[in-house]
């Protein structure tokens, strides 16, 4: 089966800091891929490259076989790539509902009733519906993160990129988030998820990728990866043989 998203030899550096070093990987349709890596490894940068907020120095990015390397961020979103931001970027002077509505009309190209129902549906799933008429600027950090997720979903993506959305959740909230993401996944959306809350990640993804210094250093079945020496040393900070 051909990949829905594919990176081939993607490179990006800021001066001496290499954030993507010859990165190649692919995502199968309907797959959920987890991404781990120390702080500053280049995970968020990788998302920026895929979504077009950063331009690549070299390499190709393909969506469903089509080369999207030169496309604008907006075009990529309309083509089916949506993301959440690690540092939330709400439209602070618009209400939660309007935030979602922007995504539904612009990203998903819906209009009228269809857009409205879709937004309400998504907000209901992410547990933000009660805040629909609240200005996004007044949300707490975690509500903002939920808004990030909602907006991305409203854009009806084929591939959704999630950047640390489980941090700071209570155990209970974390479980409900996991359920939400599983539901999304069940509808056939492919997922790439960066997360430091490892157990949440493991509850959803079927494959793990580990990044350090912009390089992919391990990839494979989640449990095996978690047991690997690299992950234990550079990520969990426990002695490999402990």
């Amino acid at each position: 089966m051909s990949a829905i998203l594919e990176l081939q030899g993607v490179k990006k550096a800021f001066g001496a800091v290499v954030v993507a070093d010859d990165q190649s990987w692919s995502l199968a349709p309907g797959e959920a891929l987890g991404v781990l890596g120390p702080n500053g490894a280049g995970k968020t940068s990788m998302f920026n490259l895929v979504t077009g907020t950063l331009s690549t120095d070299a390499g190709r990015i393909r969506l469903d076989g089509q080369d999207i390397t030169g496309w604008s961020a907006a075009r990529r979103c309309r083509a089916g790539i949506a993301r959440s931001f690690q540092v939330p970027q709400p439209f602070a002077h618009m209400t939660v509902f309007e935030n979602a509505y922007v995504a539904a009309t612009q990203g998903a190209g819906l209009s009228g009733r269809a857009a409205e129902t879709h937004c309400l549906d998504v907000l209901d799933r992410t547990g933000l519906v009660a805040k629909s008429n609240v200005q996004a600027g007044g949300l707490t950090l975690l509500e903002r993160k939920r808004l990030e997720l909602s907006r991305a979903l409203c854009a009806k993506p084929r591939v959704i990129l999630l950047d640390e959305i489980a941090g700071g959740l209570t155990e209970h909230e974390c479980q409900s988030l996991i359920q939400t993401i599983r539901d999304v996944h069940a509808t056939g959306v492919s997922i790439v998820w960066i997360e430091h809350v490892v157990h949440a990640l493991l509850a959803v993804v079927s494959r793990l990728m580990v990044i350090d210094f912009g390089r992919k250093i391990a990839e494979g079945e989640p449990n095996a990866i978690m047991q690997s020496r690299e992950v234990k040393e550079i990520y969990l900070g426990i002695e490999a043989d402990a």
Binding site: N39, Q86, T140, E143, G167, G237
Partner: protein, 234 residues
């Protein structure tokens, strides 16, 4: 009982018409680590921001070494020796990493913390010290935010969810360093979602629920079910 370092008495806080805190009482003694836990939106951040002087308060609600500081501006509160590691890092984008740290110490209070010690704690920052702070990764930024607060050589440091977004290895490293930091005469209030972590590093714990204190106790002895109850109000 020793004289309290910081006390909150019936602290209220508002955002416009919305009341976020209702009569919060809290006490911090010198040299201890107090953990504050609570669900999202419980008002933890609001409480820390109130203490730091970023939100308006009734003048008498906050006392520092017995003196009312509720009416002071944030910069005056900082001058008394209270530092905040804000939720979401909030570094100065146009300052370099090193300048971000240096400005933390610009009040010139004496104490154990210096640029060198921060670099010892987070060696990666030394490597990146001339870089612009916004170009750091999320985790690196969190390190700068912590270092910046320590640079002030405060008597009390308020830490708001510092482990958010950090790789486990870094969280571990920071919490391992915490007892040492406190041991040098620093007092800390930490807000943390990871309850186990919070309880393990603190002496006492408060739980907030919908703007009210729903539980207060000794971290080591407080029963887990009490916490669950305090958390969700069941």
């Amino acid at each position: 009982m020793p004289d309290a370092l910081l006390t909150l008495q019936a602290l209220n806080a508002h955002y416009g018409d919305f009341q976020a805190l209702y009569g919060v009482d809290l006490r911090v003694d010198p040299g201890e680590v107090v953990a504050v836990i609570g669900a999202n939106g419980a008002g933890k951040t609001t409480m820390l921001r109130s203490i730091a002087g970023l939100l308006k308060n009734a003048p008498g609600a906050i006392r520092w070494k017995g003196q009312a500081i509720g009416a002071l501006r944030a910069d005056q509160v900082a001058g008394r020796g209270i530092a905040l590691v804000p939720e979401g890092r909030l570094l100065f984008p146009s300052l370099s990493v090193e300048e971000n740290l240096v400005i933390g110490g610009q009040l010139g209070r004496k104490g154990p913390w210096s640029l060198q010690r921060v670099y010892d704690l987070f060696p990666i920052l030394k490597e990146r010290r001339h870089q612009q702070s916004t170009s750091l990764s999320g985790g690196q930024q969190q390190m700068v935010a912590i270092g910046r607060a320590l640079m002030a050589n405060p008597e009390l440091v308020l830490m708001d969810e510092i482990s958010l977004g950090l790789a486990p290895v870094i969280i571990r490293q920071i919490y391992e360093a915490l007892p040492g930091i406190v041991g040098e005469g620093l007092t800390a209030v930490i807000v943390e979602q990871d309850i186990a972590k919070a309880l393990s590093v603190s002496q006492r714990v408060y739980c907030l629920q919908e703007g009210r204190v729903s539980l207060e106790g000794q971290s080591q002895t407080v029963p887990r079910e009490d916490i669950t109850r305090a958390y969700f109000g069941v």
